[in-house]
Symmetry: C2
Subunit: 206 residues, 2 copies
DNA sequence: TCATAATCCCCTATTTTGGGTGAACTAAAC
DNA sequence: GTTTAGTTCACCCAAAATAGGGGATTATGA
């Protein structure tokens, strides 16, 4: 049984080049290719692709929404994003939506074939820079204005814990936590939990 | 200028095998190798490695703490974890601590060399399954007991927002949000924000 | 020594939260 | 075509949490 592939890509030159490349690869079968998400989604359940190569910059419905709908309609479908965009926000949106891989278009054609085999074997093919972005997203900012203790407190605030709970966990008085919070708010220039959490997440302080 | 390498690995057979392999690779220079983190850290600033290959199961101080301390002592140091463990928690702890790559020991030796070049070129070398785990960590559980609306509410709760704020954002009454929260608590079998957030994060509902 | 960090205390006022109970309307599913 | 699930809103209560203001004591390290 060959690996069934669908393509969603609005540039028809690229679409045809990919189709040619993949159809000439052992075990691969391009079952369909579309220039837009709407048409692709209408045929998804009849095409039954194993892997979909999806562009993100598409007319009307964007690729991220296309990924989300794919996963709702047919969860076993595996998606690899193939795009020129390396924008942080877009990458994470695509991954959150359900993309299992993310390639940028400056790759050699062989990487595409490799990626399809990789995702089928339980991997998550990513371009170099994307992998770095993804791993970096786990790591904290080393130039935080907050002290270690303040960071510890803010992390617990972000877990929805009350001052009392945090105080108990850190074996200090509730008043101490209050002081830390006041200092955190002052340093981050915010006036509420929600603002502090948002700013801290954005700047990777927690 | 060769790429300076340090090894931290308690099995001396593996340590020597890696040293031999890497010293016989163009542009690579193993400047030091240790069987424990303590000794490695004492010599870090004089060894000045570009890349450290770090095992996680080490006597006394564990690898994760070793990574953290490395980043504090000498932030420009790049670390690749080389271990047999594929445990979720350990992988994410290592990445959060500052690891820039994560390889499991069932790889061919050539992958090690490739990984070192990859991390130097701005990548994040990972074994197949690790990459999958990392990407999967961005994605939600598809079998959530919560409705779309409830998920939307819980996400905002996890951002530290008050019922009033959420109500405004979703253009509904505060009482509606309260009802959603009651239903969320009932479904998740919890009785507070903190518990709900914890459970939801653990089960990837948000 | 001076600055920073971490600890604790008091006061006030408002908001938030959790729990209980009930009900109207919609849309999908059976 | 009735039932179910989801979303919406209402009103009750009491305890808890929050934000802002003020001030204080230690300890550490530059």
């Amino acid at each position: 049984m060959p690996i069934r592939l669908s393509l969603v890509e609005d540039d028809h030159l690229i679409r045809e080049a990919f189709t040619d490349l993949l159809n000439n690869t052992e075990d691969f079968l391009v079952v369909s290719s579309y220039s837009n998400c709407e048409e692709y989604l209408r045929n998804l359940t009849t095409d039954r692709p194993d892997v979909v190569l999806m562009d993100l910059e598409l007319p009307r419905m964007g690729g991220v929404e296309g990924i989300e709908r794919t996963k709702k309609l047919r969860p076993q479908t595996q998606l690899i994003v193939v795009t020129v965009y390396e924008n942080d926000e877009l990458v994470f949106k695509a991954l959150c939506a359900g993309a299992g891989g993310y390639l940028t278009k400056n790759m050699p054609p062989s990487r595409l074939i490799e990626a399809i085999r990789e995702i089928r074997q339980g991997g998550a093919p990513m371009s170099t820079n994307i992998a770095r972005m993804v791993v970096a997203s786990f790591q904290k900012n080393h130039h935080s204005p907050l002290t270690a203790r303040e960071t510890e407190v803010l992390e617990r605030i972000a877990q929805g814990k009350s001052y009392t709970t945090i105080a108990d966990e850190l074996f200090v008085d509730k008043e101490t936590i209050r002081t830390h919070i006041k200092n955190i708010y002052w340093k981050l220039e915010v006036h509420s939990k929600a603002e502090a959490i948002e700013k801290a997440r954005k700047e990777r302080l927690i």
